[in-house]
């Protein structure tokens, strides 16, 4: 079948692309890292990025931070925290003025030690290095092409190194060079198919080079070509249990699989490229060593734990705000409300033609 498929789960065009044939075996929970600390911890965590050094970089809003500054926490998969990165304060002060504090919201890496952060209050993109240096910032306020009105999600285009930036308050998706030269853009405000309402996170499908946008206030994910043609909607037509509730982010792995950070429902949903629901993650965290150290210093709390009726709640995600995948098929969920990152790893077999019948042989439901 070609053209628009109006199935119960998605409104979709046939998604073109050289997607691998796959036996998806599910995700294993791998680890959870992080701690609730104002310094060297995740506190006000809003977005996560990975660099090729295998480290996890989390950008934190300044809530409670003694300096009132943006803070980037860095740790590895063994829960070892490196010193925080405090982007150059003078740079920020220059951008924000003394009174106005920045509101970081999006954070992305080019995989080569460069990071890009958006600030939705001051309408800038700031460029950082993994050493904490601020290389510069740019951004002009406004609703015209190349201007910002609350930039949020940001993604480095792997094909040309340019940046895709989501513009929340005027619903535009724009492409810039890393120095801020405007390349292209699309998007309009609304709730009709193809329109956006306060979009937030953005993902990039490396197989067919399309864009997936977390259409936050429309409770859906929309896939667009780079020129803005709507290809797919995931969300509102779904069965009730899978209605999205203010999805904040979306990531796409090297197979084209889609991970939706369903923030308002405290979970992450996994879809195949065609928009078929596969599995959901509600959290499987185990206590980190740092967390255990913390409890050891509080013997009364250790004792209370023996009386808790539902300790299972500790595992669960709370207001996750971002998802990102690495080249090892790990899925990192920024569990903001619980000050940690939960990490899963996909298990699968890649299939060869001949090991797999292919969609053209499938028409009606089968049994056994």
């Amino acid at each position: 079948m070609t053209g628009i498929l109006d199935t119960p789960s998605t409104l979709t065009k046939e998604i073109e692309g050289d997607y691998p044939m796959l036996l998806r075996m599910g995700h294993r929970f791998e680890t959870s890292v992080g701690q609730r600390l104002l310094v060297d911890g995740l506190y006000g965590a809003i977005d996560v990025a990975l660099d090729r050094d295998g480290l996890i970089y989390v950008i934190n809003k300044h809530v409670g931070s003694p300096s009132g500054r943006v803070r980037i926490a860095v740790c590895d998969l063994d829960d070892q925290f490196k010193p925080d990165i405090w982007p150059m304060p003078d740079g920020e002060r220059e951008i924000m003025g003394e009174e106005k504090l920045p509101s970081p919201v999006g954070f992305a890496s080019d995989g080569n030690g460069n990071f890009y952060g958006t600030d939705e209050h001051t309408n800038v993109v700031v460029r950082y290095t993994s050493d904490g240096e601020t290389l510069g910032y740019w951004g002009e306020s406004g609703d015209g092409p190349g201007q910002f009105n609350a930039p949020s999600g940001i993604h480095v285009d792997p094909t040309d190194g340019n940046l895709w930036v989501v513009n929340t308050r005027n619903s535009r998706i724009q492409k810039f060079t890393i120095d801020g030269a405007y390349v292209s853009g699309f998007g309009e405000v609304g709730s009709a198919p193809g329109q956006l309402d306060h979009p937030w996170g953005i993902g990039f499908d490396p197989i067919n080079e399309t864009l997936l946008v977390a259409d936050w206030r429309n409770d859906r994910i929309q896939r667009f070509t780079q020129s803005g043609e709507l290809l797919q909607i995931i969300g509102p037509n779904d069965v009730e249990e899978r209605h999205l509730n203010r999805p904040s982010d979306v990531a796409v792995d090297a197979h084209g699989d889609i991970y939706i950070c369903d923030r308002g429902n405290d979970r992450v949903l996994h879809y195949n490229p065609r928009g078929l629901f596969l599995e959901q993650f509600v959290g499987d965290a185990v206590m980190t060593e740092r967390g255990a150290d913390k409890l050891m210093a509080n013997p009364d709390m250790l004792q209370w734990r023996d009386h808790i009726v539902d300790l299972d709640r500790e595992k669960r995600l709370m207001k996750p705000s971002a998802v990102v995948v690495d080249d090892q098929f790990r899925l990192y969920v920024l569990d903001s409300g619980r000050y940690r990152v939960q990490v899963y790893r996909k298990t699968f077999r890649e299939l060869q033609p001949g090991q797999y019948d292919g969609p053209e042989t499938y028409t009606d439901p089968k049994l056994n």
Partner: protein, 460 residues
Amino acid sequence: MATRAATDVGLVGHLMRRAGFGASASETERLAEIGYDNVVEGLLGFEQQPRPVEDLLERYHQDHADEESVKWFSKRWIYRMINSERPLEEKMTLMWHARFATGRSKVNNSPMMGDHLEMLRDNCLGNFRTLLLELALSPAMIWWLDQQTNHSDAVNENFGRELLELFSMGRGNYTEEDVRACARAFTGWTIDQTIPRYPNGWYDTNYVYRSHDHDPDVKTFLGETGSFGGEDIIDIIVRHPATGQFVASNIYRYFVSDTPNQEAIDYLASVYFESGHELRDVMRALFHSDFFKDAGYARVKSPAEHVVGVIKLTGEHTSEYEFGLASLEAATLAMGQELLNPPTVEGWHTGFEWIDSAFLIERVNFSADRLGNLDAPGVRSIIDRLPGADLSLTPDELIDRCNYELGQLNLEDRSRRVLTKELELHHDIPCAGGSSNPDFTEIAIEVLQMLSASKEFQFA
């Protein structure tokens, strides 16, 4: 007092200050056209208005990122007081919050405080029996009054006592034996052990009933005998004459005047009983009564009313994108009212006790500062509305016009004399050009600031 027309702007302004947090003069004029009785029905039937969707607020403000912060609930509440299309809901909730006080000083768990606030909101204008019952089931209240340590073999009377003393009948209407029986009836009403704060932050907790810890024996309470449980006790309480007086006098002091009027309270108490303890009916009777309509500016404003009232005049914070809610929360605190943290189980001391030298400086500076900001849309709109067809105003006329915009304060003669004297350099205030005339704007702003610094502005 002569009957006032239903379209009287002053009367509708009074209603909005009491049933809500005030309204600008232009908004009040619009409401007056609808007519007093219709406005009352709109306020009472607030379910017809949608509750605000607060996703954008949560998205755009920093504070929510700290899931532990009770302060965030306070800021969000202030935003809602400013913007809710159900002002009476927030006003009633604020009343019950002060009366059924719980605070973060003891309930140091923000999900519990947030749930408690939501419970008050859900029941603020419903049946008083339901409200008391939900109060007894609220984990924050259970913790606040140590009810989780009230066991069948070791009674803790704290909740039982306050239920009678502070939450319903008041002292003098029951004996120590009644307190004991009440506390025993609530044994077994407790909460689950929640997950401790470390290492992942707060988790909320749930009410649970433990039947094995409930004292099932026969109790005698206020002359009635039975193997009462908590619900039976509440049934008896809400029927008691003293409870009618409690509800009526609370509502009277909060909505009408700092000076009690027994006749009016008796009338409200009679409505309470006739309606089967329906708070909505009591409030409807109140709003239609003469004693309410005649009670303009008879109450000292609470800090929350002062701050929110001023911001409603300046027209700020109507957008979720606007930062600075923290400064409003800090302002109420500096004026002596930290929301979600009342100082004691008795809530705040009200009336003239709101006015203390440190607090008064904060009140005066806050209102003068905010009303002096020409960038605020409400202030700009006030200035724009001032000059009518006239090309000039006398000082007295300007004071009257400004006072009208602020809600027709009950200006004492002396305040008026002082302000007129301040303007005496001008026989006429040149207002040609209105807000684009810098001289006129400056003078008008000063008048607004001075009015807002007056004693009279401390009242609502």
